[in-house]
Amino acid sequence: MQIRNPLVVISDFMGRLGRRAIEGFSHYLDLSAFAWRIIREMFRWPKEGRSLLYLVTIEQIYFTAVQALWIVIPVALIFGISLIMQFNKLSGQVDLGKIVVVILVRELGPITTAFIVILRSATAITIETGYMSVLREMEALEMGGIDPVRLYALPRLIGMVTAMLCLVFIFAISSILGGYAIVWVSTSISMQHFLQQVGKALTPEDYIVSALKALFFGVTIAIVPLFRGFSVGRSITEVPVATSKGAVECLFFCLVISGILSFLFYL
């Protein structure tokens, strides 16, 4: 067996590390440039193609928000019921409203909604975009004189952000209702008292943080899969790889965003 010179091994390792670092840095730069490109398109807003843009945006809201309701509402109810049940036992019915707000509205609601949307829509966007790239459908749009970023990517960004804002709100309402259901069954607290507790616990920061989280999650869940999809080359086998990487990246970014916003507002 040949023994390699330790200096060569270290040099190879450092080289690999350096290449990975440059690749990673370059990926994030490309992703930021792509995000900037779509966001800038939003403010340009030329008259051309506007009606089709509305149509595609509405379709995206339908696919991401309306079609996800059957899963978001039951999940929110289950979370509401199980969490309040546990905390009801733990805290002896004291500050139940506050617990609902802290756990469900501030933290769990937005991130759980983001997870559901990543599983349903982020993967779908990467697959759709990837296949369109491989099958030269983006090229077909270009041959029609249509900018794919404007007609394909921009409506998905607007639709996704709108859908996330709506879903986070619906999740919060549904989980509070679920929480109330358990309060109604297993405690002596009246509905009025419970809602008063929730109302008192809710601060303006909660609304702002929830909305900000929904906004940033929406941007992330639209841009990362679109970028991954557009990056697919000519091979169909690149699509599942891009889908998997896109979903993991979305998940990671959403957790980081959630942590940063909670840190900034509640520290």
């Binding site: 008259k47 051309e48 099958l135 030269r136």
Partner: protein, 226 residues
Amino acid sequence: MALKLIEIEGYSLAPIGRGRGLRNFDCTISEGDVIYIEGDRFDDTHLFLRALAALEKPLEGVFYYRGEALDFSDYRKLLFYKRKVGYISSDSTLLSNRTIGENIMWQRHYLEGRGSLKVADEVIYLCRLFGIEDKLDLRPSQVFRDEVRAAIIIRELLKGAEILFVEPAGEMLSRVHYESAVQLTKEYLSKKVTAVFSYSSEPFIREAATKMVRIVEGKLEVIALK
């Protein structure tokens, strides 16, 4: 003297597939030109057609459209040109997440700012010619390949393009649809429009041709016929 629509100078293109690429060629396409291309490799003639449609970024050289150099550094700067050319080729596609009718009407609605993707009456006539008028509400994956090709031809003809780039329809269409395509092509040529055909064995195209482009071993030669 006819107006020069396309002037290509010192153009070189990297190979695709099993082709050899194209090296340092010049080519001019004027208004009313009918050109047919033949060559030793399909990949090279296909590459030339893609280059004419501004779908391939050159390694070197300049592409002038109506005297204005195209800027390949940003695809958005090529969109105005792509709107003006029709591209019917083996790699032309429809959007798979839209119906056949929507695909045909997509560009028109985008440019005219209409929200509804309703199929216009003149489109129905063309669809009837190709026998796809009852399939407009189906997606490309739900119809035969042949019918997808027919929809692509209709879409590109409806663009009202200044120049049409066509790859042989014979291999892409069944006999019935092929005859419809030939009829449309004849109508198109009778209007004295500019067209570039690749590998066409149809005698009426060779008769109408004003130039021939021969591509051998990656070298391109333009031969004036009329």
